[in-house]
Amino acid sequence: MSRKGIRLLAVLAAMSLLITVPAAAQAKKKIITISGSTSVYPLEIKLASKWIKTKKGKKFGFKILQGGSNVGISDVSKGRVSIGASSRDPANGDPGGLVFTRIARDAICMITNNSNPLGNITQDTIKKIFLGPTFTSWSQVPGSPISGSIDPVGRAATSGTHDAFRNIFLGGTNQGSFVAAKSSNGLVQQTVQSDPRGIGYVSLAFTNGVNVVSYNGVACTLRNASSFQYGGVRSFYFVTRGAPVGGVKKFINWITHSNKANKIIATDWVPLH
């Protein structure tokens, strides 16, 4: 056999090993599938990779997909995944028989451009900017260092962040249709970063390069959110069809009860206790 042929065989053998070994290992494990919110995704990845190293979690494997809160809820209701991840509260239009288990909390911050270092904004002012609008100029906003028109930036109606903003900051009313409806946290951040007159709302993890405004006198920080002083906090949920059972139940129990899980959540989010 030529040298080339031998080398080819070696490569093939190595590849078949790579393919078969994990498959064989996985065959014994039960796979928990998760799909849903892009906001919850980084958290669930961290939690799952830690859990499968624990005694109970050893027998399980994970397959985690994204897609958005509504995708997760629809997937789990149709039995396509074991857990749907949601960054919004249960809604009227949700399919019946779903159980929402809260796993963590997340802060939503109001942001403005760095050239507009607004210190504080009240819920009343936010309503006057994002509903109506009653306020269309920065000179109408108490404490604003700049003047000129206000460019409100928000999220599309389908996003979990839009839902949370409506329920927490706007008292249940939808933002006006004049608010730019961006399709991701990153786009809101980018728009406010480049527009001196912009104001928007994003998840705490997306506040680099912009001015973070205090809400009702409390700064939007992880510490204030954990101590429940900060008002703009929403919940992350794991959604199951019926009460969680088997591996899913063990996983969710571990998240809500173990100290290790708490520590992981506390890196960027707000633990439940």
Binding site: I73, N92, P133, G148, S149, A157, T158, F178, S194
Partner: protein
């Protein structure tokens, strides 16, 4: 029976020819079946949205705010009898037409002139540089144009071209921060011009050199020979290029979703110069922005209705282009 080249098609058949013929025929049929399946699928999904709204779906005079309607549809109760379907999509259709038409008209002019330059006037060195660059530009993915749009063009428009008084005049109605249909149309022009140039260059090259030489020998200068003979003869190809470019422009979603402002606003020509920097959102961008809501049944049906409109427009474009090309061929001695 003869084909275009005047060659005899029928003849003694050999077996491998026959086999290739069957295989290729089967492949072509699969493509046809796929397209038919896709159209049926989209229309079946989209039907409730059209049937609930009737002509108001398309009507410029139906009123209502398209973003509010989207929110209401998204928040429909889960009981199928109470699904909300009200959708007056004219602002989105208007934005699609406005952006696409502007981009295609500008880029047609650009493409024909630059193709003439490349074929007839450019020095050899420049031509050899230009052609590969044009082909490379035609292949750049749209998301890259979107990023450049957000980071450079939108920012430039917002910082330097829009005055504070212009902003204040529409405060509370539309945010003039650079995200606008004008920027979308501008970048779209840059995206589709290279495709058109590439097609028109090939067409101008295909014009028999004798035709142009004939007119030059009659004393006409190079520019007139090019314009009256080559460009005239290449008209069917220019139409074909414009149709292809329009199809790409119609379906462009990511870039437009990033730079056009994400508001279902209807830019008003009556506003004067501000008109060009007013926000808008075309159909394809709306589908991309709201794809997360596909799990809500009536909302998904509304998005499929947008898709159906785009699909039908693309089909009409193709047929229209084919018809115009045929008419043009009847009037010109065309090599193409």
């Amino acid at each position: 029976m003869s084909n275009r080249f005047g060659l005899q098609k029928a003849g003694p058949r050999n077996r491998s020819d026959r086999r290739a013929e069957l295989l290729l025929g089967a492949l072509a049929c699969v493509v046809l079946a796929l397209i038919a399946g896709m159209i049926i699928f989209v229309f079946e999904k989209a039907w409730p949205s059209f049937s609930h709204n009737g002509f108001d779906w398309f009507s410029p005079f139906a009123g209502g705010n398209v973003d509010d309607e989207l929110v209401h549809i998204f928040e429909s109760p889960s009981n199928p009898a109470q699904y909300v379907y009200e959708m007056h999509a004219w602002p989105l259709i208007y934005a699609t037409i406005l952006i696409t038409a502007t981009a295609v008209i500008i880029s047609t002019v650009f493409a024909v002139l630059s193709a003439m330059f490349i074929v007839e006037f450019a020095p050899e060195g420049i031509r050899r540089l230009l052609e590969p660059v044009v082909r490379l530009l035609a292949a750049v993915p749209s998301v890259i144009y979107g990023l450049i749009g957000i980071l450079v063009v939108v920012k430039f428009f917002g910082d330097h071209l829009i005055t504070q008084s212009a902003r204040d005049s529409v405060a509370g109605v539309a945010a003039l921060n650079g995200f606008s249909w004008g920027v979308g149309a501008l970048i779209l022009t840059v995206m589709i011009t290279p495709i058109m140039i590439a097609i028109v260059v090939d067409a101008l090259r295909a014009v028999p050199i004798g035709w142009r030489e004939g007119s030059v020998s009659l004393g006409v200068n190079r520019w007139r020979a090019m314009w009256t003979v080559s460009v005239r003869a290449a008209r069917p190809a220019i139409v074909a290029a414009a149709v292809l470019a329009t199809a790409r422009a119609l379906g462009e979603a990511i870039m437009l979703s990033m730079v056009t402002g994400s508001v279902g606003f209807k830019p008003q020509p009556i506003d004067g110069l501000i008109f060009f920097v007013e926000p808008a959102r075309p159909l394809a961008a709306t589908i991309v922005d709201n794809a997360e809501g596909l799990s809500v049944v009536p909302f998904a049906q509304t998005l499929y209705a947008y898709a159906a409109v785009l699909l039908v427009s693309a089909a009409f474009l193709s047929f229209g282009g084919w018809y115009i090309r045929r008419r043009l061929r009847a009037y010109t001695l065309s090599p193409i």
